[in-house]
Symmetry: C2
Subunit: 237 residues, 2 copies
């Protein structure tokens, strides 16, 4: 019934598959997390109201987001936690194996290699690379550090199909180019630079400096309005 293709009358190779709005995709990962918690607690059903409350969104938005997957709820009742969990996971592509290579075995790269959040969510760290000859060959979380010269070879051997880029800003673009050259199409970058990639390569960025600066902006505004209301308070209001 709701399975009509919202992507329009196009049926070309490029447009294959139903498309979910980016903002909704991002939230689906959050819903999935909450659902996994409910599953672990043995909860069998949730309403959009309850789940929305748990993740801090409006229930109407949650329902609309879920509606992009099809119709998986029961009117008057709610959603089966298990069914919904599986449906979201399948749609996000989490039923297949994702093997992640970490490029950059510095502080951050090593911390990420040991981050349990990857493995518990179905992402296996398959390889780790560095450029420094003093680091190559050393052991990080049970993996031997490979040299970036062997990028293509090691990626192929380990079957890594995603890369986490944890290198200094000044070499990020250069390594990104090498990765693309080696056939990598999905990159999560921690480097504070804008990476240029050809079409067909998906780059996402985690940018701690930007996030702190955004916090600074809001904190400054909060300070200012504090001063402001003090002024108002003293001048009579």
């Amino acid at each position: 019934m709701t399975t009509q293709d919202p992507s329009g009358p196009f049926a070309g190779p490029e447009t294959a598959g139903r498309h979910i709005p980016p903002a909704a995709v991002a939230r689906l990962t959050i819903y999935l997390r909450a659902l996994n918690s409910l599953l672990a607690e043995g909860v069998e059903r949730v309403s959009s109201e309850e789940l929305a409350e748990a993740v801090g969104v409006k229930s109407a938005m949650l329902r609309k987001d879920l509606s992009y997957l099809g119709s998986y709820g029961t009117r008057g009742v709610g959603y089966e936690v298990q069914l919904l969990t599986r449906t979201i996971a399948a749609r996000l592509g989490l039923t297949q194996d994702w093997r992640v290579a970490i490029v950059g075995a510095g502080n951050l790269g090593r911390a990420l290699a040991g981050y349990s959040g990857f493995t518990t969510r179905g992402f296996e760290v398959a390889a780790i690379f560095d450029a420094d000859p003093a680091v190559i060959g050393s052991d990080v979380g049970g993996l031997k550090v490979s040299g970036v010269a062997d990028l293509e070879k090691v990626l192929a051997r380990t079957g890594a199909n995603m890369v986490v880029l944890a290198v200094p800003a000044r070499v990020a673009q250069e390594l990104c180019d090498k990765l693309v050259q080696a056939g990598v199409r999905s990159i999560l970058s921690f480097a504070p630079v804008v990476l240029q990639v050809p079409a067909g390569v998906e780059v996402r960025k985690v940018d701690m400096a930007t996030e702190l600066q955004i916090l600074a902006y809001h904190a400054q505004r909060a300070q200012e309005s504090e001063l402001h209301s003090e002024t108002h308070a003293r001048s009579g209001q």
Copy 2:
């Protein structure tokens, strides 16, 4: 549900802006980065076209974003790199000292403590905390790890006004509550959970698992449309 809006009913056309749209704030940090590079290279002027190109946005958007700051360009010429850099920095609240406390001295917390991107952008790591008695007192990047029991005391002593939360998901909310209790109003969380905070507290999240899952979604779609076009082109092969 974010912070209160102190802008009131005033719609002064003269006012070179109180409130900047969130999407624009995020991009201003990126422009600032690019401008700092230009400054380092000794470039004195840029056009919106050049700067937009460098950061991967449309020039009209960049001009609109900058227009929230007021009018700092010269028609027919472009922007003075130095003036623009200072203007953005001032507006983002980066002219004052921000002192960051890192809560959680695990792999990630220690990596962040050593991350040069903080200090080079005007954020000083002022303290680091952990709950583990075996870790408390040890040295991380020149800082002695404090116990979370001393949170309020140490935050006050070090003047930390921002917190980076790098703790396991299951204790994140509890620590968040303690931080809020201790007067912290700006939190950057790496924990993969939705944090509930009272109004007036700003939380931003860096979520590696979510980012990887979004990549997985796109990668799966790419695979699917590949298969699709193979099917279509089955005659060849």
